[in-house]
Symmetry: C2
Subunit: 295 residues, 2 copies
């Protein structure tokens, strides 16, 4: 299987799902709010989190498309977090994926509320996932999503990131930021695939470890690309972390050690799911794909 | 039954529940985030929404304390909305309930993230409500809460409120703001009591109408108090709506007509639940209490 083909196919399913859902939902909401939410939702992106959830659901024996709505909710949460991260009070970014950030187009107030709206709507999207998924499994996934997105997860990571700007480099703090700000939602994406299937404890544990390793590797690679990546491909200026005195892997350990750590994590991710058969092919492909981004 | 005693008793249950939950939850989150969330949660307030949910649950034959956690989630959502509403990009308020607003104490970035954290955690709180409530009824209540809080509810109302500052008075727009910005969550509070009990359609319909009338009456009374209330009791300056060119009931219809409308709504609220017996006593008392605030 060609993983790029798999990623393209699944991400266009996600694009279609989000486009349709946000065209049909909350039609009574003010137009500018709906436009603003869609502006950021449809700004492109790899749709990594929903694709991971579907790949994990497939690794547990399901058909990815059966959890398309629930998986897409992960992208909606991710999008809200980007809108709020970009705000002047936070990272104060003007560009995201090569386009003006949400508050640059709609103003700060609407951008904050678009983020709030997306966060809330994401839970509704997951609850609207019907088909073969039981209500119990939906409830378990809702918990997973809220824990990962909340104060003990993504929001906590973002707080620590802000507190750490201009601070002395610190390995514990950096690990906290990475495992929470991006790691928690990636881990939850993989786990949600398993939870929506009602997978057994052993499978859930293997996939959890896969998700943890993948999430941290992904963020390290992101840090590396911010130093040596291609501006056009990134959609934002290279070196933007350094310009903001962000704590990153390369700033603490250097590029080479960071790269070694990312590679070791990808190996561990692959080892974690070695007991799975070829139904875990997409998960393996995604792990390879993430490390290849740096080459 | 003395309704003030009922309100005091129930609101102190809610205070205890929120204090305990947020002391025990997300202990791995950064201290400043937990402090900031608690700062706004414990700022006082009538706890009207949780009390309404419990009173509605009792009207359907349950014991209010059995849904204390789920009901308290409504206050957590309400608190997040106040933090975001007060931000410089929104209403730019320095005082809330007589104390500095969240961003005045913790800065804008932390205030935005505290709001995000509370919104997310509220769903977890509702899911943590165990006891006699079935998982199906929890799921139905989660939907209710997310719809009311989301783009088609509270967030939409706040967007319209912001778009309407300095705009020409407009009856349709004012109704939209009031029924969405505050009305949606109050309606949902009453409905959640019924949904958590799994009440039948007829009861749910009666309580829904009660909640709609009560929510609108509550907001009209709030508008009136902003003009002629007591500064010390309100915890914010009298006339702050007018100072911001907010669209309000008194500004559109005058004080007397606004008062008549509120009284008519309270009568309709009481009529809607006339088929209920004495188990709806607290709901009746709350309706009376809300209109009495103006006298």
């Amino acid at each position: 299987m060609d993983i790029r083909e798999y990623l393209n196919e699944k991400s266009s399913l996600v694009n279609g799902c989000i486009e349709k859902y946000f065209t049909e939902c909350c039609t009574s909401a003010p137009d500018v709010l709906r436009e603003s939410m869609k502006y950021s939702l449809m700004a492109g992106g790899k749709r990594l989190r929903p694709v991971l959830a579907m790949a994990s659901y497939e690794a547990c024996g399901g058909k990815g498309a059966d959890i398309l709505l629930g998986a897409s909710a992960l992208e909606v949460i991710h999008t809200y977090s980007l809108i709020h991260d970009d705000l002047p009070a936070m990272d104060d970014d003007d560009l995201r994926r090569g386009r003006p950030t949400n508050h640059k187009v709609y103003g700060e107030a609407i951008a904050i509320l678009a983020g709030d709206g997306l966060l809330t709507e994401a839970f509704l999207m997951l609850m609207a996932n019907e088909g073969p998924v039981s209500r119990d499994n939906i409830l378990n996934s809702l918990k997973e999503l809220a824990v990962a997105a909340g104060p003990a997860g993504m929001v906590g990571g973002q707080v620590m990131d802000i507190l750490s700007e201009n601070a002395e480099p610190d390995a514990h703090r950096l690990e906290y930021i990475h495992t929470h700000k991006t790691g928690a939602l990636i881990r939850a994406s993989v786990r949600m695939g398993a939870l929506l299937m009602g997978a057994d404890e052993a499978k859930l544990a293997s996939l959890t470890r896969y998700g943890e390793c993948l999430g941290l590797a992904f963020q390290i690679v992101d840090d590396i690309l911010d130093v040596k990546g291609d501006e056009k491909e990134l959609g934002k200026p290279v070196g933007s972390d350094e310009g903001k005195n962000k704590m990153t892997y390369p700033s603490l350990y250097g590029i080479d050690s960071s790269m070694e750590r990312a590679e070791a994590l990808i190996s561990e991710a692959l080892d974690s799911i070695s007991a799975f058969g070829q139904e875990a092919g997409p998960l393996r492909g995604i792990a390879d794909y993430i490390i290849r981004r740096t080459h």
